[in-house]
């Protein structure tokens, strides 16, 4: 199983916060394609977290600041994001933080808003967004091949 083009398209709409398009494309996906899209979300989260914080000398402080700013954008986001879980998930990418104790549902609920926040902050244009999704798709395909 690999990540399909439609899954990538729906993911692009999600990151552009075009949820209408996301819902439309998502309705056309099969169950396997949805699972593959979940792998794509996790891979994209890893890629963006690595790009955003790996090169920093004080990655942990920047992660804390980023999560705080994201939660302050609205009540929904503040309710949705747990600061500890958010920081640990980001640290798991740039360090050896162990996140095995966090459930996959909780991880998924944090991956999506954190990923959108990083994409919005990075001000990626369409080409950059496509390149990032291509890299994430390659990683996701590798993960799916292990299963």
């Amino acid at each position: 199983m690999k990540v399909s083009d439609r899954a990538v398209s729906s993911m692009r709409a999600y990151l552009r916060v075009d949820m209408a398009e996301y819902r439309r494309l998502g309705s056309e996906l099969s169950a396997e394609e949805r699972d593959a899209r979940g792998a794509l979300i996790a891979a994209a989260f890893s890629v963006m977290a690595d790009r955003s914080f790996s090169g920093s000398s004080d990655a942990k402080s920047e992660i804390v600041e980023f999560v705080s700013a994201l939660r302050s954008r609205g009540d929904e986001m503040a309710t949705l994001l747990d600061p500890n879980v958010s920081q640990r998930l980001l640290l798991a990418v740039v360090s050896d933080e162990d996140v095995d104790d966090i459930r996959d549902e909780t991880k998924g609920e944090h991956f999506a808003p954190l990923l959108v926040g990083m994409v919005v902050d990075a001000k990626l244009d369409d080409a950059d967004l496509d390149a990032m999704l291509s890299e994430a798709r390659e990683i996701a395909d590798g993960w799916l091949a292990e299963d």
Partner: protein
């Protein structure tokens, strides 16, 4: 008569032989060599020339200097003459193991052991019709049969002049004292570096023991050198101890290699395939089979395909034989290939560990590896969770609403543009007319108020 004179000169003055050797052939001194069978040497000159050539050869061989603890051949132990008669003492130059040196190599055949008197060879008089041969035999100590008339110049057949003919007076005295005491001043241990250890005890005779097989004896003596102290029984014990020690070492080596498993072979292969070209390796070394590994590595390496697992293929056209064995290393699958090329006597061992299909070289900090680390197990749950939170994301980070509900977000992350109030939410024509009417009414009322104000001012 001449023989007696030479023998007496040699016995009384050990340097007489040197003088005889150095004397010109026509000096008038005649030396006749008689072997045990009574064959007279036709020419003393020939014998002396051969003797001199051998002595020169030995001097050249011994020029680098003796090793510590080793005696020069010229300074032979006087007791060696007695030892030679007993058949157990041989001193051979180790530096030239392939060529026997001037040692008392004559085997003590047909000679009673441990009899000092027999060192003069008088016990063989029955084989020597000429009594004058006694002098020569005294000089050779025991080697009458080694001085064959047909082979006068062969070193291995030379008599034991080096020991029976001491070059120095003190050595002669020491020999005499040794003979009186009946004990060897030095006990030597014979170590054979060419003959296999298993053959050494039988090839080198012990004190007072006759050796039946002359060839084996000569082979052992030729490859034997005098090294450390130790009586012949000690040599036997030392040899056994060395074998036991070797066995213990091999056992320990096998155990260590068993513990190390394939790691050792991998390291050996990593040390260089070039090294593998010169040193064959056993496939079973890397095999999980706990069979004996290190002891017969080279032996097994000469028998490709004799391992326990793996497949073997042969190319009859090139004579190239390839054996592949799959071995496991810490759960990882490793392909071990042993190649034997018919044109080369060596083996080539290659270990190939297949990489993951999507593996990329690390950038040094483990960054790529961290990124590729899988954070979740069930991707379906991630997709479901992302769908659940889409509304919150849309509300928080989506495009700004338009119309009367539009607002300016503090983070300015909305991508929606401020559109003019057109469309279904921007107002209908009635609304516009109403607005125009209201405006017109307002204007009309303002005009009317203005007119009324002017009238009141006039009145």
């Amino acid at each position: 008569m001449a023989l007696d004179k030479v023998a007496d000169d040699h016995r009384d003055r050990p340097e007489s032989l040197d003088a005889a050797e150095s004397s010109p052939p026509d000096s008038g001194r005649a030396v006749v060599s008689v072997d045990r069978q009574g064959h007279n040497r036709s020419s003393a000159r020939e014998y002396l020339a051969a003797l001199q050539a051998q002595r020169k050869e030995i001097r050249q061989r011994d020029q680098p200097g003796p090793e510590p603890g080793r005696e020069k051949p010229d300074q032979a132990d006087p007791s060696a003459s007695r030892d030679a008669a007993q058949g157990g003492r041989r001193r051979v130059d180790q530096s030239a193991p392939a060529v026997p040196s001037d040692v008392d190599q004559a085997p003590p055949k047909k000679r009673p052991p441990a009899d000092a008197a027999d060192s003069s060879g008088r016990g063989d008089t029955s084989e020597r019709p000429d009594p004058g041969a006694d002098a020569q035999d005294r000089r050779t100590a025991s080697g009458g049969d080694s001085i064959g008339a047909e082979r006068p110049a062969r070193p291995e057949d030379r008599p034991a002049q080096a020991t029976a003919r001491p070059d120095r007076q003190d050595q002669s005295e020491a020999a005499e004292a040794d003979a009186h005491h009946g004990s060897s001043p030095t006990s030597r241990r014979v170590t054979d570096r060419r003959v296999p250890p298993t053959e050494q005890p039988t090839a080198t005779s012990t004190r007072g023991e006759q050796v039946a097989d002359k060839d084996r004896y000569d082979a052992a003596v030729t490859a034997t050198t005098v090294a450390e102290p130790g009586s012949p029984p000690d040599r036997q014990r030392d040899s056994d101890a060395n074998r036991q020690e070797d066995q213990r070492d091999q056992t320990a080596e096998r155990a260590a290699m068993k513990r190390a498993g394939i790691q050792q072979d991998k390291q050996a292969a990593d040390r260089g395939d070039s090294a593998a070209d010169s040193r064959p390796r056993d496939v079973r070394q890397a095999s999980p089979d706990p069979a004996p590994q290190g002891a017969d590595r080279s032996q097994k390496a000469t028998q490709p395909g004799s391992g326990t697992d793996g497949s073997r293929t042969a190319d009859s056209t090139t004579g190239r034989r390839v054996r592949e064995a799959d071995v496991k290393d810490a759960g990882r699958r490793v392909l071990l290939t042993v190649t034997k090329d018919a044109s080369s006597p060596s083996f080539i061992v290659t270990i190939d560990q297949p990489k993951p299909p999507d593996s990329k070289p690390d950038d040094g900090g483990g960054r790529v590896e961290r990124v590729r680390r899988r954070l979740v197990r069930d991707f379906g749950k991630v997709d479901d969770a992302a769908t659940r939170v889409e509304q919150a994301i849309e509300k928080t980070m989506g495009p700004r609403p338009t119309g009367v509900r539009s607002e300016v977000r503090a983070d300015s992350t909305a991508t929606a543009h401020d559109v003019p109030p057109v469309g279904p939410h921007s107002g209908s024509a009635t609304t516009a007319l109403l607005a125009v009417g209201v405006t017109a009414l307002t204007v009309f009322e303002r005009i009317r108020e203005s007119i009324q104000k002017r009238r009141s001012e006039k009145e």
